[in-house]
């Protein structure tokens, strides 16, 4: 496709893959054509279910047995996968022949970093042994030679040779991912396929891995690479060319920059505008309505047509071919000319939220320690007390109508904090004060089972709700949507006052003095309907008698939201509500949350590790590190003028689709570690590039800029800047420090 590359390494021609399942035939890929040239990095971008991994698996010929393949894949000009060879491989003999042919291609020619491979190390063997196995299987090298090769490879992957003697559980996620990359590079393959290489890693580790890959490419250790991801940031940082995949078809192919700046496909346009970005400030992100088509029964014509804003009659009748637009840019759309970058939507005015002055919730020195001796055996056999300091003396307040974002790496205690606020965890010390209609409730002191506080407890439960991270787990699969959403109403036995003269209806205890009655079914239904409409589930009646498994992830999360809203609650804790959703439905969910907040004067604690979306949604942001709030301030301030060294690193690590992003200068060492053995002084000491001796001894003071933006550090900003200048070398050599 591009003349710049003379040598075609890999080409995929008319690849169509389908899987026979009990439900029917799942059409995973249709007529995919891709070419990979020497020295190219090809990015494949798509939402989950678009068929990204199927392409990778097809290339490696590792598809499941129920797969049916049409089309050819050739490596170095040799067709090694054709429909014929695959079909022959169903017989034992044919399989042997294919395996023989693949043996020379797999790993030596094409190697792969599998999705989530860092979690698939065998826990009983050392890393060294497992890397060694690769050489043993594919080469005839002696042990010494292998050892030498291994050390070299580890260096490429940015790992210390000591990891060879370590077991997988002794390594952090980032180190394991590096080890996986080392394994992929072990035999110096000409093509490396990296399937979601950074998914499941924290943002800082992700940045490190990306820069490592970039460095490897620069040194020509990785010669040619295919990178597969759902994250535009990751792809745009690495890929020269990009293929946008949707429902098994390539929607657009071209130079990364072309696609990013001059998209010629409505899906690409919409997808790109679905990613909130810390660069785009608080510009409106729209998302794509609807969900991926049913892979068993894909729509006729263009697969994106049902969700497309440009769709016309023609789109649903015939399928568009990839049309060359010049300069190696292709797009599968009938209306490439009509596409303009959807700037209007981004410029859509964002309503200013009305934030009241009064606090709805305040925490004072809120602490939650988990006792490691929670089991009987533990308390019998362990002597010293160990705690996980998940939440440590946090002070914060949320105003009525405000969204407070909480960010931090995993393990920083965000979720524990949110759950403790809801009393899903019993706070160890400190207080949580809810201010409800003039009343002040210290939730830390009340309990469900204490008789005197039962009423207060129910009052608290009624007004504080939660949206959980995993919509697949937070809805009972055995309950209908109506039952799920109406559960809080029934649980709270909501009543309604009735006329004093009439005592026909009695409450359950037969007490006639209670001039109240339970809500009637139609009143309950009205409440459910109202909540579901608020949560953008329309029309609600269609969903009443459906079960969660019939809904998509986005719909489920809306149902979970409707459940949280049904009691007209005042405060919601949203714990990473979008992390399990497809990119295209994330924006929709966030916009919904925003508009509810405005209409209902709802306060939200928004917990996320995704800084961009937190920025998009929140009024203020709190940054947590190892159970401690290290910085809190207005969202714009925290993102644009981060004060704490950790926040600075965190924001720098967010990959953006721009060339000048350089994650090599994150200026942070290692990974978050655990909250059991925390440093005496500043918890960030061990990773902080500015750290001096004092940091590890005394707890840092709170430094306030006077506008409600504070951070915890021993140093002022001026001091930090001085350090930065004098220690510039330290920021550049993170790789070496690791060793």
């Amino acid at each position: 496709m591009a003349d710049a590359y003379s040598n075609k390494v890999l080409s995929i021609e008319n690849l169509t893959v389908s899987f026979d399942t009990y439900k029917g035939t799942v059409h995973a890929l249709r007529n995919v054509n891709l070419e990979l040239y020497q020295g190219e990095i090809l990015g494949i971008l798509g939402e989950s279910g678009s068929g990204k991994s199927t392409i990778a698996m097809s290339i490696m010929s590792l598809l499941a047995e129920n797969a049916r393949i049409e089309g050819n894949i050739s490596y170095m000009g040799e067709d090694y996968i054709t429909a014929e060879t695959i079909n022959k491989s169903r017989s034992k003999r044919g399989k042997k022949i294919l395996d023989e042919r693949l043996r020379n291609i797999r790993w030596k020619g094409i190697s792969m970093v599998f999705q989530g491979a860092m979690n698939s190390f065998n826990p009983v063997y050392t890393i060294g042994k497992q890397i060694k196995e690769v050489y043993k299987i594919h080469t005839t090298l002696s042990d010494e030679e292998i050892h030498g090769k291994m050390l070299e490879t580890l260096k490429y992957a940015g790992l210390n040779p000591t990891v060879l003697e370590r077991y997988p559980h002794e390594l952090s996620g980032g180190m394991k991912q590096r080890a996986v990359i080392a394994m992929a590079l072990a035999l110096e393959p000409s093509v490396v396929i990296a399937d979601e290489p950074t998914t499941g890693l924290d943002v800082i580790t992700q940045a490190e891995i990306i820069s490592q890959l970039k460095e490897l490419k620069r040194q020509n250790i990785i010669k040619t690479m295919i990178i597969i991801s759902h994250d535009i940031g990751v792809i745009s940082q690495l890929a020269d060319n990009m293929a946008i995949l949707y429902a098994g078809t390539i929607m657009e192919y071209g130079n990364s920059r072309d696609i990013y700046t001059n998209s010629k496909n409505p899906y690409t346009v919409k997808l790109l505008s679905s990613y909130p970005s810390i660069r785009n400030a608080k510009k409106y992100v729209e998302g794509i309505p609807g969900s991926l088509p049913d892979p068993i029964d894909p729509p006729k014509g263009c697969r994106f047509a049902p969700r497309c804003y440009l769709a016309k009659g023609r789109c649903t009748e015939s399928e568009p071919e990839l049309i060359p637009l010049g300069n190696g840019h292709f797009s599968a759309c009938f209306f490439t000319d009509e596409i303009v970058s959807d700037k209007e939507a981004q410029n859509k005015d964002i309503r200013k939220a009305e934030i009241h002055d009064e606090n709805i919730i305040e925490t004072k020195e809120l602490t939650k320690y988990f006792d490691l001796k929670s089991s009987i055996a533990g308390s019998l056999f362990s002597r010293d007390t160990k705690f996980v300091r998940a939440v440590d003396h946090i002070n914060m307040e949320i105003k009525r109508g405000e969204i407070l974002g909480v960010v931090g790496e995993s393990g920083s205690g965000k979720t524990t904090f949110g759950r403790t606020l809801l009393k899903l965890y019993e706070p160890t010390s400190g207080s949580i004060i809810y201010k409800l209609e003039g009343k002040e409730i210290d939730v830390a002191k009340i309990g469900e089972n204490k008789k005197e506080s039962k009423e207060t407890y129910m009052e608290f439960r009624k007004n504080i709700q939660m949206i959980f991270q995993d919509p697949y787990d937070s809805l009972n699969p055995k309950m209908t949507i109506f039952d799920i959403v109406s559960e809080p109403i029934l649980a709270h036995k909501l009543t309604k006052p009735i006329d004093e003269n009439v005592s026909l209806m009695q409450s359950d205890d037969g007490n006639e003095k209670t001039k109240e009655r339970r809500l009637s079914p139609s009143e309950i239904t009205d409440m459910v309907r109202e909540a579901m409409i608020k949560a953008n589930i329309k029309p609600p009646e269609n969903y009443f008698y459906r079960y969660p498994h019939e809904l998509s992830g986005g719909e489920r999360q809306r149902v979970a939201t409707a459940r949280a809203l049904v009691l007209k609650t005042k405060f919601i804790v949203a714990d990473e509500p979008t992390s399990m959703l497809d990119v295209s439905s994330r924006a929709g969910f966030m916009n919904m949350l925003k508009s509810i907040r405005m209409d209902d004067k709802l306060s939200v604690l928004y917990i996320s590790h995704d800084i961009a979306s937190t920025y998009y949604l929140s009024d203020r942001i709190m940054v947590m590190y190892l159970g401690i709030a290290v910085e809190l301030g207005k969202a714009e301030d925290v993102i644009n003028r981060p004060l704490h060294p950790y926040t600075k690193a965190l924001i720098k690590a967010v990959p953006t689709p721009s060339v000048d992003w350089n994650p090599g200068e994150i200026g942070i060492i290692g990974e978050i570690g655990n909250a059991i053995d925390v440093p005496k002084g500043c918890r960030f000491t061990k990773r902080c590039p500015y750290a001096v001796e004092e940091c590890g001894v005394n707890p840092p003071p709170l430094r306030d800029d006077g506008y409600g933006h504070w951070y915890l550090c021993h140093f002022t900003q001026d001091q930090l800047n001085q350090f930065k200048d004098s220690h510039r070398e330290r920021f550049k050599t993170t790789d070496e420090q690791l060793q």
Partner: protein
């Protein structure tokens, strides 16, 4: 106004509930469809349906409600024990009765059989000797006569004579053996013929036919001391009938003693000799019946008895003891229509012995050594056997499944027959039930009871077509009887009998309800306990919960079967005790499964969500835990039902805690005591084996079918 509002609310509630119920039914139907669509589910459903239906209709089809104690009538499983079955080269008609007489203390060595053209001797091994070729033979009698010459020397030896006749001759044969003693070597018969005309009935002799080992001094082959006579009746209805008497000694026309004309011109039907073994000839008589008349002539030809009955006399019968000593109570018994009469020889008067509502077919009795025979047997035409212990004194009666036409007797034992090959053997002195039966399913001759020299015991000989049979008088136990729809007692045995004679069908059908009951009660018991335990222990964590879990684990870890055996033997063989034991020992497995389920459910976010929603613990358990464990509960219950039945069966097979109700396992316990009984009586063991297997599989299939419903990945969209 507000009242109306409240009524509306009530109405609304009702409608809402209705809709909910509709929805629930709708869902249940969907689940059912998925369940039914799976092959396992369908198979399981129909199997369970079959078991339930059979259980429900079992009272109608069980036939015997006490299957554990019921034993089929003895006649069905007690059969004649065959001693000899041999093919002979000739075919014998059923009317051609065999005869035999013992001419030595060892018994009868030959069975004599005459056809119209031949007289044969059949040895007890089944070899056939042809003694005479003739024509128009009237049947053969055999009797034993003492050798006078040997009597005089003090060592009594005996000869066997055969007597037959045709239209022209009386034929007397003397059996001799080529060996040194009687019965050894080859037999041969020398015949003497005396010409007579118009012989009416086969001639008789005064000499005794020793069927069995009866004792007594026989008559002799001389004319001075206790001579043996031969009688013959000839004549026509127009000319009149004449009784002729000859000496056996030197039998010829010349040994003729007397000829006397019978008083009536009615063809004589029976004649028999009375007093064969009397020490003097003074009381001996030859008895002749003519229609309703009973006539008795002394050996010198004098009419000494003349009696008449209301109806023609069809049979004369003299008990064997009356033949050996002359007593005042000696009677001649005769059948006259529906009456049995006895006629005292001493004073020529008669008395009614028995009166029936139906014509009487045959009579017989025990020897009667001390007066009226102790057991007097009467067969009437309504298939009824009446046993009398005195005139008009019925001891008992029984009805026979087949029509009887004759009786053969020895001592107090009676063999009833009907020439169709059906035989019943009765020992009324010891049992009021038929001791054994024999059904040859082919026309067969009258049986004769003779003394078998091989066993020195009475045996029964008969000929059925071309097969010669010798049977023992003692029964053979036929159990286990194979499935049959024709038994002597008339009931059907669709699955035969056990080795003890129990009806397999009734036990099998009766087991359905017991086993289903045990399965369901144990299944539900485990369900309730494990649900409670699983919920509480799974949901709450703490010391008590851990302790209880350890306790459950302890029960779980003790090897199941030995524990079951020990506890079951302590509790003892009661159905409910056994159920309690099974429940008490089986709940841990289900409970552990549930504890695990509940613990994993507890960590699911929707439980947290419910807590946040304000749901109480009870609500969480009821609304979130129970529906999610319901499928696994059904699954476990299905497995437990099968498992409980399997466990009970194991106990029953091993014979621990035997129950008084039928179970499949109990039926199989016979197999445990005799490993080869399965080969011997597959009908006994195969039904419970098949039923048990299917029963357990049915519930496993149900469980598999439930799997489809439970597992949404397999089940697809609902």
């Amino acid at each position: 106004m507000d009242t109306r509002n409240n009524l509306d609310v009530k109405d609304e509630n009702k409608n809402f509930r209705k809709e909910r119920i509709k929805f629930t039914i709708h869902n249940a139907r969907k689940s059912w469809k998925i369940f039914y669509r799976s092959k396992y589910g369908k198979a399981g459903f129909y199997l369970v349906l079959f078991f339930v239906v059979v259980t429900l209709i079992s009272p109608l089809i069980i036939m015997h409600n006490d299957p554990t104690t019921y034993i089929v009538p003895e006649e069905d499983f007690s059969a004649a024990g065959p001693l000899v079955t041999a093919h002979i080269p000739v075919t014998i008609n059923a009317s051609e009765s065999p005869t035999a007489t013992a001419s030595s203390t060892t018994g009868s060595n030959l069975i004599y059989e005459s056809t119209p053209s031949h007289i044969y001797g059949i040895s007890l091994t089944g070899s056939l000797h042809n003694f005479l070729n003739s024509s128009g033979l009237m049947g053969v009698n055999s009797f034993t006569v003492g050798r006078y010459s040997s009597f005089q020397t003090g060592i009594l030896s005996l000869n066997t004579y055969l007597l037959s006749a045709n239209n022209t001759d009386i034929i007397l044969g003397k059996v001799s053996w080529s060996g040194t003693t009687y019965g050894t070597g080859n037999p041969s018969v020398s015949f003497t013929k005396v010409s007579v005309n118009n012989t009416v009935l086969s001639p008789i002799s005064s000499a005794y036919t020793y069927h069995t080992g009866e004792s007594g001094i026989p008559e002799f082959n001389d004319i001075t001391y206790k001579p043996a006579y031969i009688f013959d009746i000839n004549g026509t209805s127009s000319r009149g009938y004449y009784l002729n008497s000859y000496y056996l000694s030197g039998f010829s026309a010349g040994s003729h003693i007397f000829t006397t004309k019978l008083p009536y011109d009615i063809a004589p039907t029976n004649y028999t000799f009375y007093g064969s073994l009397f020490s003097t000839s003074s009381s001996q008589q030859v008895l002749v019946t003519q229609g309703t008349h009973l006539l008795g002539y002394s050996v010198s030809g004098k009419l000494v008895t003349n009696d008449s009955m209301p109806d023609p006399i069809s049979q004369l019968y003299i008990p064997s003891a009356y033949q050996s000593s002359s007593n005042s109570y000696n009677s001649i018994f005769s059948i006259s229509g529906k009456f049995v009469y006895g006629t005292f020889i001493s004073n020529n008067t008669n008395y009614i012995v028995f009166q029936s509502k139906f014509p009487i077919v045959a009579i017989s009795s025990s020897p009667g050594g001390s007066g009226f025979p102790g057991l007097f047997t009467v067969v009437s035409s309504n298939n009824n056997i009446t046993i009398l212990d005195g005139p008009n004194s019925v001891e008992f009666s029984l009805s026979t499944p087949v029509a009887i036409t004759g009786i053969t007797q020895y001592s107090s034992n009676f063999l009833f027959y009907n020439l169709k090959g059906e035989y019943l053997y009765l020992e009324p002195g010891t049992s009021h039930d038929i001791l054994w039966t024999l059904d040859l399913n082919a026309a067969s001759t009258r049986p004769i009871i003779f003394l078998d020299p091989n066993t020195a015991r009475e045996a029964i000989a008969l000929v059925s077509g071309d097969v010669f049979h010798v049977y023992s008088t003692s029964p053979k136990d036929l159990n286990p009887i194979p499935p049959t729809f024709h038994t002597i007692s008339g009931q059907i045995l669709p699955l035969g009998t056990t080795i003890h004679g129990e009806d397999v069908w009734s036990q099998f059908i009766g087991s359905f309800s017991t086993d289903l009951f045990i399965g369901i009660v144990v299944g539900l018991g485990i369900l309730l306990i494990s649900l409670l335990v699983g919920m509480v222990i799974g949901y709450y964590s703490g010391l008590i919960s851990s302790g209880f879990e350890t306790f459950a684990l302890a029960i779980f870890l003790i090897p199941g079967l030995p524990l079951l055996i020990v506890v079951a033997s302590i509790v003892g063989p009661s159905l409910y005790g056994l159920i309690a034991v099974l429940v008490a020992l089986s709940w841990p497995f289900a409970s552990f499964t549930l504890i695990g389920m509940v613990r994993s459910l507890k960590t699911r976010t929707f439980v947290d969500a419910a807590k946040v929603s304000g749901a109480s613990t009870f609500q969480i358990l009821r609304k979130h835990m129970v529906p999610n464990v319901t499928p696994i509960l059904i699954y476990l219950t299905a497995i437990n039902i099968g498992g409980a039945v399997a466990a009970v069966s194991t106990l029953q097979i091993l014979g621990i805690a035997p129950l008084t109700v039928p179970t499949w396992g109990g039926m199989l316990s016979g197999y445990y005591s005799d490993f080869f009984a399965l080969a011997l009586a597959p009908w006994w063991f195969v039904p419970p084996i098949v039923a048990l297997t299917l029963f357990i599989f049915a519930f496993i299939f149900i469980a598999r079918g439930m799997d489809e419903v439970v597992n949404p990945r397999l089940g697809g969209r609902r």
